[in-house]
Symmetry: C2
Subunit: 339 residues, 2 copies
DNA sequence: TCTATTGATTAGAGCGCTCTAATCTTGTAG
DNA sequence: CTACAAGATTAGAGCGCTCTAATCAATAGA
């Protein structure tokens, strides 16, 4: 059996309560006793039992994190950042996945709640708002990559409309006028990105072209094939704004397969600035969401609520930035197409 | 305050103990009472408090998972799989990251242990064996992608030597004779992969060429440049076995930059079969570690220990397989080089 | 010398649950 | 009708800790 506080107390010749004070760094302990307790604890290899502590103190150091899809590097980055923030602040992360299914996610959420965590962060959840509301009644909840109306939950999002606009402005600045958006269908944030694209195009007095697609490389390929079938070469869009990086990679494949060069014939912009985009082999121009900042803001918002320092909801809308790499260039003299 | 068992008991007009039995699906409860309790619980929105439960029962449903690096899709996949296995078996995952630093990892490990978890799974840990031993004295420990001698810990690894051999055999079968390995330096499993490469080459009566590199795309680029500088074109290796997929992608970039075509002039094989390799744009021939199986075996091994069904250590060494895609081809008639 | 006063220490209740052992109900056999 | 086994229910201790209030020791003031 692992040593308990009682064991340490006995060995140090003090009471359990004193050991408790030492373990919590209370200032009202004499140096002599503190040293004795610390030594006894060391000798026994004692470690406080967080669960017992949390039960007795009616407070929790546990933060629940639900990730919609860990495989998505975007969330993995956020989780890493949350983890280090939590560690620094003395909190422990409990993590689980929702597997993109509302049912599984609902289960996962329940599991988290049964720990009576101090707070919960949901990364791009797909459960209905009512489920989130249920959770919010039990502890502070922060949503990342998902909006909410409820005044009891905070949200952190990137401004998808601004992100798409960034991409469009960049392409227009390079002389492109026929620009298409390969949209992400029902994926999180896809609608925003599409709206931003359309608005930006209109602002430039251009006609937005939208191809329904998906946030996968296959989706990008298929969409480009559709584009190739629908337009004669001289009329083909010279600029593509993909819903995300995977989609962009697929689009590039299909373009090259069709004998079109990137960026000489067609420029392509991705979204998310995943590690994929940064690969020199691809060197994808893409929109970067400030992941670190998003994670940090989410964490801070949560902690503020946990500490009861704030009751007003907070809505962070972060500004993305454009990372220009090698898949975009000035539209060519020939009109950027034909051949 | 959230309702407790006492509240449910009061509302259902029974004792707390009875509620406890119902919550644990005990068969020795009359249907009438069970229904009453369930209804009361429902009405109050009662949920058992896992921590209190674990404290009282002296058992834990918590499994600790430490991930060396979540950003690495390989581990993300394993975690996802572990999560679903855990959920199915009624366990909860507590996760944290070591950030590839032994110190941070040691902290993370301590945090996990302070939950008195039922067991711990370490994914490619970098802490010293002694630290693992300390953990193993507290609860069952399973190591993934790391070997151990201690009889109290189980391990799950892929057979890196066999994996490299697979790559070599494939290339030799395609007629390649000058084959180089871009090794992963100090990365986990890199030594094994190199040994496997060397052994396989010798088995074929060929001289192994090893370039010290890293498990990154930059590493792959640099290594190929070294190769290009060291060999005249006709003598350049026609086959490359990279330490992992990232490295392979970097290698391909550098080759193409130098005017060499993949796979016409040089064939390249990666390792890990990350989602990267599967992108049609890259279509990288690579060695696949059976991640799902690895996760499942790790979970099973842990649960067996947790349940006390086994005390003998278990050493799973999984056989990788080769996924042939588009970056390898028969060595060309011209000798596979020059020009 | 005696009482405040301050700081250090401890007793003891209790967090929400489980578990053992005891108690209460039945149903059934004698 | 009694006795008793089997099943259903509950009392109560206790898991490892925290927290309040009480106790104790030591110094200072009168």
């Amino acid at each position: 059996m692992r040593p308990t506080m009682e064991d340490v107390a006995a060995r140090a010749g003090v009471s359990r309560a004193l050991v408790s004070l030492v373990m919590r760094n209370s200032p009202k302990v004499s140096d002599t006793r503190r040293a004795a307790v610390l030594r006894a604890a060391e000798e026994l290899g004692y470690q406080p039992h967080v669960m017992a502590r949390s039960l007795a103190s009616r407070t929790s150091t546990v933060l629940g994190v639900m990730v919609n899809d860990l495989r998505n590097a975007f969330f993995a980055d956020i989780v890493e950042e949350l983890d280090s923030a939590a560690q620094a602040a003395g909190f422990d992360l409990i993590l689980n996945t929702g597997g993109r299914s509302p049912t599984r996610e609902w289960n996962a959420l329940h599991n988290l709640l049964s720990f009576r965590p101090a707070g919960i962060i949901l990364l791009s959840p797909v459960v209905p708002a009512s489920a989130i509301q249920v959770a919010a009644r039990q502890c502070p909840v922060v949503l990342v990559s998902r909006t909410a109306r409820s005044s009891t939950v905070d949200t952190v999002n990137d401004d998808g409309e601004a992100g798409s606009a960034l991409a469009v402005d960049h392409l227009v600045g390079l002389g492109h006028r026929r620009i298409a958006h390969l949209d992400g269908g029902g994926a999180a944030g896809a609608a925003q990105r599409r709206r931003g694209f359309e608005a930006a195009m209109r602002r430039h007095g251009l006609e937005p072209i939208v191809v329904r697609s998906e946030h996968t490389d296959i989706g990008g390929e298929t969409a480009v094939r559709q584009l190739l079938a629908a337009y004669s070469r001289p009329d083909l869009p010279t600029g593509l704004v993909s819903g995300n990086d995977f989609n962009a990679v697929g689009a590039i494949s299909a373009l090259e397969e069709a004998g079109l060069r990137v960026p000489e014939d067609v420029s392509v912009v991705g979204y998310d600035n995943t590690s994929l985009a940064a690969l020199r082999h691809l060197s994808l121009t893409t929109v970067d969401q400030p992941r670190k900042d998003m994670a940090r803001l989410a964490f801070e918002a949560l902690i503020e609520r946990v500490r009861g320092e704030r009751t007003e909801p907070v809505r962070h809308l972060l500004h993305p930035s454009l990372v220009v790499r090698a898949t975009t260039a000035e539209v060519s003299a020939t009109g950027g197409s034909s051949r």
